[in-house]
């Protein structure tokens, strides 16, 4: 187990900047996920921790000792590759034992560790098979086992589940977490799947274009994304974004819809982005009073069994909302969607940065944001408010 400190790490390939001033501290025994879209530099960062890629500048340190320039052999880390990289000409037993033999451990100790790992990963009956004789899931477990037997200072996992089908991925996810909790080895886990990152990691570093956009616990990232990118990346389905403009009469979307803000109107920002997660939008209930609503036309309804994803054309964009229930509107119906003001996120249009609550000017008082319009956006009683009558969508 080791603490990993990454300081001002840069990587360039020719004119291409792969990593841009990356700073990251991973605590002892911590499970850190590096998440981001393809090409964001997360795998490169992992390979640099492993010593497989030299850094252009900056430093990587294990337990405060810089390992820059040290080859992978000297770093005592274990890595699970996306392709598994099992030695095809060796049986499972030899694949597991290879690293231990390189460290010249006594054969009895090697045997004990191989059997322990095989038992933990339910590989005992496959020890004498070749990788080609195993299924995808079994190969993945061998790759995990090869890392586990080593008792390294850190596990580095490079998209280890991306080659598995959805069902197997879910069960392997649980297994990886269980093994990590059992061994408490510092783990860096690279994935492009935010669900994997959120479910597995103690903390997540979200990356984009070679930069770390935010580091935090899964809930921190979900509740307080520091920029539009993180907000859009974490959460499934993705957050809805509405471009709004501050006008004299309030904050309005391009189609003129008025949106109420939680605390107040941002300081002088003319163009803003409002973020609303699909789970924080709901079909406006019958008789609801004094709740903020947005109106739109249902453009698509996706039935997922336990929930329904309803897509609504509104505010100059397509909003997605998660609806639990069987009373589903039809395509083309006019729908009133209510939203939770407290869970509304606000981002700067130009920089994408979160507009923090304390930066927001005095509370959103009707005096600041056109009192009348704010009031107008509230639902006024109608008893048969939610009507799913089909109407012709606007041309």
């Amino acid at each position: 187990m080791a603490r990993i400190d990454i300081t001002s790490l840069n990587k360039t390939f020719g004119e291409h900047r792969i990593l841009n001033d990356v700073n990251l501290s991973i605590g002892e025994g911590e499970f850190m996920a590096l998440v981001g879209p393809s090409g964001c530099g997360k795998s490169t960062l992992l390979r640099m921790i492993a010593g497989l890629e030299p850094a252009s500048s900056g430093s990587v340190a294990f337990d405060g000792v810089a390992v820059d320039g040290k080859p992978p052999q000297a770093r005592n880390i274990a890595m699970v590759f996306q392709s598994y990289a099992l030695y095809p000409h060796m049986r499972v037993r030899d694949n597991l034992a290879f690293g231990l033999r390189q460290r010249k451990l006594p054969s009895a100790e090697i045997e004990r560790r191989v059997l322990d790992a095989a038992r933990a990963l339910e590989l005992l009956s496959f020890l004498d098979r070749y990788p080609r004789e195993l299924s995808g899931g079994q190969r993945q477990r061998v790759a995990m086992g090869r890392a586990m037997v080593r008792e390294p200072v850190a596990f580095l996992l490079d998209e280890p589940l991306s080659n598995l089908d959805a069902q197997l991925r879910a069960s392997m996810r649980l297994e990886i977490r269980a093994q990590q909790e059992r061994l408490r080895v510092t783990t860096v886990y690279v994935t492009h799947d935010q669900v994997e990152a959120v479910t597995l990691a103690d903390r997540i570093a979200v990356m984009q274009a070679g930069r770390i956009m935010q580091i935090g616990t899964p809930l921190e990232l979900y509740d307080r994304p520091m920029n539009r990118f993180v907000a859009g990346f974490i959460g499934s389905p993705a957050m809805n974004f509405i471009n709004v403009r501050r006008r004299d009469d309030g904050v309005r979307a391009s189609d003129g819809s008025l949106i109420r803000l939680p605390l107040g109107q941002a300081n002088g920002e003319a163009e803003l982005i409002v973020g609303l997660r699909p789970e924080h939008l709901s079909v406006c209930a019958h008789g609801a009073v004094d709740v903020p609503v947005i109106e739109g036309i249902v453009s698509r309804v996706e039935q997922l069994g336990a929930e329904v994803e309803i897509h609504v054309e509104s505010c100059g964009t397509r909003l997605c909302l998660r609806h639990f229930g069987r009373d589903v509107p039809e395509k083309g119906a006019r729908l009133r969607v209510s939203y939770e003001i407290a869970r509304l996120h606000l981002f700067d249009h130009a920089t994408g940065a979160r507009i923090a609550e304390q930066d927001v000017a005095a509370a959103i008082e009707p005096s600041n944001v056109a009192r009348d319009e704010a009031a107008a956006s509230r639902v006024r009683v109608p008893q048969h408010e939610v009507d799913f009558t089909s109407t012709t969508p606007p041309a």
Partner: protein
């Protein structure tokens, strides 16, 4: 075609009729379909025969030459009216054919071993280095120049080293001459071995040489055999250097020996053909023995 036409004519019940008729006499139906199928098969066989004949004709002509008298050869007939066997024993009597074939096999085999032994680590080093591509082009460029350019410098070099008319000299020349080809062949095979395997071994603690030895080399075996075999054939067929550097009977190889059948006034085609056919046999046998080794697929299951 008939069935389709009947089925498509739109009259109700017609399709069922056809089916019933077809069921009643399945032979008639199959005959209707079998016609074009047989034609197609015949045509493809004809194609194969023509294609195969194009390549086998020279061998067949060579074999027929071995049974012809000298006069018949000059007449230029393909088939002989009175086959004779004397070429077969005379060829072996006229020169030490078996011995020369043996020399060729020894020189070609050892030089192929030398080529593979040098090319494998060299290819690994170049192909796995990040900026090694220009070395590859450099290697290839040395092969572009005609071999005759190197003939005289090599002759003097070998004379200085006392390697003329020696097995070691010929093995060295052939072995080094085929290095560029071997490099390019092995490079292709090496590219198929995923670099992630090397990286996994490094992370597992294996040194760079050990990784090459324990991980890459075993996976390159089919490539090594293929490269070795091609190097062997190239060395076995080599004539230019052998004709100058191995003139002594103790080291002379088959290609030079065949030229001995050419006299001042006539060429003994019949015996020359015997020598050529006898020369094909060892290479063919070697290829036959190693053909299973040439089949790849050893890396299956390693990645993904």
């Amino acid at each position: 075609m008939t069935i389709l036409k009947l089925a498509d004519d739109g009259r109700p019940g017609k399709q069922d009729d056809v089916r019933r008729r077809k069921a009643a006499s399945p032979e008639a139906g199959s005959r209707r379909i079998a016609g074009p199928l047989i034609t197609k098969r015949l045509l493809s066989w004809l194609g194969i025969v023509l294609y195969g004949g194009f390549f086998l004709l020279p061998i067949a002509f060579l074999i027929s030459l071995t049974f012809k008298t000298r006069d018949e050869v000059l007449l230029g007939q393909f088939f002989t009216s009175k086959p004779v066997l004397e070429n077969w024993w005379k060829a072996f009597e006229f020169i030490n054919l078996a011995g020369f074939i043996g020399h060729s096999v020894v020189i070609a085999s050892l030089s192929a071993l030398l080529t593979v032994a040098l090319a494998t680590p060299a290819t690994y080093a170049v192909a796995r280095l990040q900026h090694g591509e220009f070395v590859g082009s450099l290697v290839l460029s040395s092969y572009i120049a005609p071999p005759v350019v190197a003939l005289l410098p090599l002759f003097f070099l070998m004379r200085c080293l006392g390697l003329l008319n020696s097995f070691s000299g010929m093995i060295l020349v052939d072995g080094l001459m085929n290095l560029p080809v071997a490099y390019w062949l092995l490079r292709g095979f090496l590219k198929k071995v995923p670099a992630a395997l090397d990286e996994a071994a490094w992370v597992d603690g294996a040194g760079f040489f050990k990784t090459f030895l324990l991980i890459t080399l075993p996976l390159l075996v089919p490539g090594l055999f293929a490269t070795g075999l091609i190097s062997l054939i190239l060395a076995y067929n080599e004539f230019l250097f052998a004709s100058l550097f191995a003139q002594d009977d103790r080291v002379r190889g088959l290609t030079v020996a065949i030229s001995l059948f050419q006299g001042d006034r006539f060429v003994n085609f019949g015996q020359m053909a015997v020598a050529s056919i006898a020369g094909i046999v060892p290479v063919y046998l070697i290829a036959l023995v190693f053909q299973n080794r040439l089949i790849g697929g050893l890396t299956v299951g390693g990645v993904k």
